[in-house]
């Protein structure tokens, strides 16, 4: 019920911000559409902790995303340096390692974060094992037990 009403609020907010018109007809039409989409999604059974993870939102917004943004800037700068360096000091590496998350959503957040930081791409996600392509050996070596791994696990555990 909490998830359903939160989906409704998000959908309606999304409609209002995209439309930008606030006449009575459009306000009612938007509410109707948001309600319909919410009911359809509930019938499809995709409104749950996994499809709409609001329990993660506070920690994601105020702790994980800002940290991730800084990491993205740092690694993007590192990749930029490697690209522009005359000798191009790259050492492409494929590395397998075990992430410490237990839930599917934690694994997805971790894999997406790895791909989002330039210089590392998650190529395969198996049962408790990631295959990562890294632009440099240092990038590949720092994957297992990284701070990112620890932070995602903390977020998933609700710490």
């Amino acid at each position: 019920m909490l998830h359903a009403s939160s989906v409704l609020v998000f959908l309606y907010g999304f409609w209002l911000l995209l439309s930008g018109y606030f006449s009575a007809f459009l306000l009612v039409a938007g509410a109707g559409c948001a309600l319909a989409v919410m009911l359809f999604s509930r019938r499809m059974g995709i409104i749950d902790r996994e499809g709409h993870p609001i329990h993660l939102s506070r920690r994601a917004l105020f702790s994980y995303w800002p940290w991730l943004a800084v990491e993205i800037v740092k690694s993007a700068w590192d990749v930029t340096r490697r690209i522009l360096h005359p000798r191009m000091p790259i050492s492409p590496t494929l590395a397998r390692f075990k992430p410490s998350q237990r839930t599917d959503i934690g694994l997805v957040v971790h894999a997406n974060s790895i791909t989002l930081t330039p210089g590392t791409i998650t190529v395969e996600i198996g049962r408790g094992e990631f295959l990562v392509h890294a632009l440099s050996e240092e990038g590949a070596a720092s994957l297992a037990g990284s701070e990112m791994d620890r932070r995602v696990t903390d977020m998933e555990a609700g710490k």
Binding site: L17, G20, T80, L84, P92, R96, A111, I121, E137
Partner: protein
């Protein structure tokens, strides 16, 4: 005041343009498919984010800025999924990655 805003906004736009250019140079310079994807990810993170930030400063507090933020969130969530799908498809189809330590038998694989 609008002068300061323009300066910050232009700074963001120019920096974003710089990182897009770096990504393009990387696409040409880097040796194989997988390493080139790393260059593309510079464009879709820093390049896109800085250009969107510059445009949001130009837009001020308005619905346009909100829509730009939505585009940013969309890129933030979709680009890793697309990158992962592309890399995995390449690996499944048998595109061999060029590895630094191919000569000596590596223990990592």
């Amino acid at each position: 005041m609008s002068m300061v805003r323009d300066l910050i906004s232009w700074g963001c736009l120019l920096a974003g343009g710089f990182f897009c250019l770096v990504g393009a140079v990387g696409l040409i310079r880097l040796p194989d498919f997988y390493t080139r994807m790393h260059a593309a990810s510079v464009i879709e993170t820093l390049g896109a984010a800085l250009i969107l930030a510059g445009l949001m400063i130009q837009a001020g507090l308005s619905l346009v800025a909100v829509k730009l933020a939505m585009i940013g969130l969309l890129i933030f969530f979709i680009s890793p999924a697309a990158t992962h799908a592309l890399a995995r498809a390449a690996l499944v189809r048998g595109v061999q990655p060029l590895l630094a330590s191919r000569e000596q038998p590596s223990s990592k694989r």
